[in-house]
Symmetry: C2
Subunit: 559 residues, 2 copies
Amino acid sequence: MAKTKNILFIMFDQLRWDYLSCYGHPHLHTPNIDRLAAKGVRFDKAYIQSPICGSSRMSTYTGRYVHSHGASWNGIPLKVGEITMGDHLRKTGMGCWLVGKTHMRADAEGMARLGLEPDSLIGARVAECGFDVFERDDGMLPEGPDGYYDPDGAKEYNKFLTSKGYESDNPWHDFANSGLDKDGNVLSGWFLKNSAEAANIAEEDSETPYLTGRGIEFMETHDGPWCCHLSFIKPHWPYVVPEPYASMYGPQHVLPVVRSDAERQNAQRVLKAFMDTKIGQTFSRQDVRDAVIPAYMGLIKQADDQMGRLFDWMEQTGRMEDTMIVLTSDHGDFLGDHWMGEKTFFQDTSTRIPLIIYDPSPEADATRGTVSEALVESIDLAPTFVDAAGGEIAGHILEGHSLLPILHGTADEAPREFVICEYDYSASPIADLLGVTVREAVMFMVANKKWKLIHCEGGFRPILFDLENDPDELIDLGDRADHADVIAGMYDHLFSWTRRQSQRTTRSEQQLIEMRSKSRGKGIVLGVYDENDAPLDLTVKYRGRTARPYQDYTKPSGD
Amino acid sequence: MAKTKNILFIMFDQLRWDYLSCYGHPHLHTPNIDRLAAKGVRFDKAYIQSPICGSSRMSTYTGRYVHSHGASWNGIPLKVGEITMGDHLRKTGMGCWLVGKTHMRADAEGMARLGLEPDSLIGARVAECGFDVFERDDGMLPEGPDGYYDPDGAKEYNKFLTSKGYESDNPWHDFANSGLDKDGNVLSGWFLKNSAEAANIAEEDSETPYLTGRGIEFMETHDGPWCCHLSFIKPHWPYVVPEPYASMYGPQHVLPVVRSDAERQNAQRVLKAFMDTKIGQTFSRQDVRDAVIPAYMGLIKQADDQMGRLFDWMEQTGRMEDTMIVLTSDHGDFLGDHWMGEKTFFQDTSTRIPLIIYDPSPEADATRGTVSEALVESIDLAPTFVDAAGGEIAGHILEGHSLLPILHGTADEAPREFVICEYDYSASPIADLLGVTVREAVMFMVANKKWKLIHCEGGFRPILFDLENDPDELIDLGDRADHADVIAGMYDHLFSWTRRQSQRTTRSEQQLIEMRSKSRGKGIVLGVYDENDAPLDLTVKYRGRTARPYQDYTKPSGD
């Protein structure tokens, strides 16, 4: 083992924390990811900052809360000027590269205002969330009557499939994400019943092996030090996987749904609205779960096999000895639990993520194979990377904390009392249904190891879960008078967090402390009546000066 | 009267709200400013966002709270990417120009990160807080043993004085801001006892007439539509004024000090620390007040005379008919009231400002000469200007509200329940004295017309004033159990304010509402089990597609 030279930052999309065997899944065996956990630290209480791809990632990539960076939903651009992981790492001499998905939407208006050209080096980094792009692949090319959701989606991947001979104007859809019936009809993966079908693609050509290969190609061609964000699309929908993974799991491997009738009947109004969506209704059906979950598990099993390929390559090439490996997800997936699908609420099912960090340095030997119960957040990754790269953590910008002390066994906890997660549904039809304004359609979660409080703007009552006694979060205590003190206490945490100075990012704490004495010597003299009251040295420039009466200069010449 | 074509945005520095005759000062007659009030609306409850020059101004120039833009003290740069009054106005076709002071500190590090050159058009605007510079004059050239506080301070003004024949390496100090004894010794205005001296300068060469002239020169040479920020340094310290103003007021015109022994003895700890500074101690002396306040009044009287000159010129040239005129200040000055000097606390003495707006348009005829009791904030000016310029107010960026409805008599109040002011003393030695961290050395004020609550981070008790029954703010009710409900209610206001989405600035409310339906037609299909469950039109691209089995493409050629 040697010092960390590089960082391989692996992210899966929509990977639930509990769908890995090292996190306890009874049927889904992920020996390769478990192998990484055995060599590193597995964090058991890791939370994301927003239960949606774009906002969660913008927090991870900036090391800042959503409330601080403002990119609060998919498609809301990260504003120009926000400082990213890449900006911090390049200051330490480490490159920061992207292979895969970010869900970054560039702030085109802000870039135009500042005259930043997207094809310049700086402009490209601003547009790509601070990364230098080896390959950007947000992993989707949806198409509707109004055109493509993202014309650049799956761009290089579709070229790759075309070069391999797959015949289609959108092989991403027709092969990687659809099945095929015996009559040659494409069974689109957008329709969940087709999740039970095998993707009509050679396994090695599907998305996860493709991006794994691209990650290896990056490492083969870059000397470092680098941080490589290898960012997979799967197991995110469309939920379709090729053979042999398509047949690997069946309804017998689907865990019982986690929900209760009381939970639905007594649901607070905002939560109820999320249960009542078409997504919630569909995923509440067992036939849907039986179709989708085996495919979802197959996608994860495939991912684990690809991790095996990747880690083997790293061991063979020496990269395992000089590279920190981080493996995580951007959020979970309800999969019918709590009467919901997708991820846009705050139960652990959605907001808790797998997080495994392997640090090759000898300092980390003490913690290999251990499980950390520390409350950590995805904003901790950026400062951890800066710390691992030997840089100084800009604590006035980065809101997370380095996890190196935990990785090195010198701390058990991150320095925080609670975690925060946020969700903005102002761009969702649910806001109309609930009759809330754009400003009110936001929610905050504040949680420690014992309690989770959810606050919804717009005059709704809070939601409270007792995480110790009700870890499945089935009993909402938010309307219980006997929990008023707990609720008030959690609101105090939320209040103190909202008051933080999150925008004072242009001066470090050290600079502010130095400013306390700095202006003294620059001639600002306040509260001094008589020069004899003032220190001679600080006022030396104001003493012993002579002049002539102004009339000498201003009287008409010749007088 | 015609429609507003231009905006003349006049700001004085450290001008107390109650040191104008239209605001009730009994000895200081300001007929020219009063004349503007008679033609416009005088706002009686106008508050700034921070009781210090730089932060107050950054809020005014961005239309955003300090907590939103982060430039929370003098010398903390406004971060690159923040959108300014100038950015908003230029979108409407109105130029935005500076003549005088801004206290802007450019974010040099951020500009370098984005490759913005300070001498480019865009870079210069970013560095100058969004203004195009006709003349920047922050009005000070202090000098100490470690050099100049701001080497560019009073730059053009010193050149002007030199060109007029004033002989000195720093005529700003030696003539404009100092007296002279009979032996030719400069009596520096930095020492408050010298405030009683006349500045050794021809009145017409002193700072306020100089900048007034520069403002007229700007208007003479620019066709418009423009917004001209004519931003005076005075009556800010050094408190020195030339004749005839130096002899105009004496101790008999100094109002009784507003303070009480109880106020000092019972002061909450943070407030006490501000009273205990050298500044507070000095200004608590009556001899200091008797020296300083007559000079301060003279500076204001001079300013009023210059306003007469300016308004006369505008009437003669027609500018009075097409130009909105706004006259305000960036904060007040304790001048010994409440045992303090300077401005860095939250009593109205410091946080309430004069604000007079004259709108030349016929719509404003209904309100000429009236007084508005609306709770307004200095962040209301930017949206007011955009509104007057005929632009659309970017409510997702600007946090204030247009005052045009009040000016046009269609509203009595601004749409807010409370005003907010903030102060960051983390760069002050007071933080050391109180033993608070950099993150804790901040304070918030929340006030409505009845109550003012001050919250200090770091575990101090709140401060509460009853503005109706104790308008002089002498009785702190913050430790009174019988006011616990009031305190809790004011904290609720503060909490709701801190939760606002202040950083979601890249998408307008309208855009967010449109996003609710926009992605429907772009092929994202969620929660649909069977294609028969989905609208045909939205899924048309996923139907009727055909393909060949993948093995057809991938089997070895020749098979």
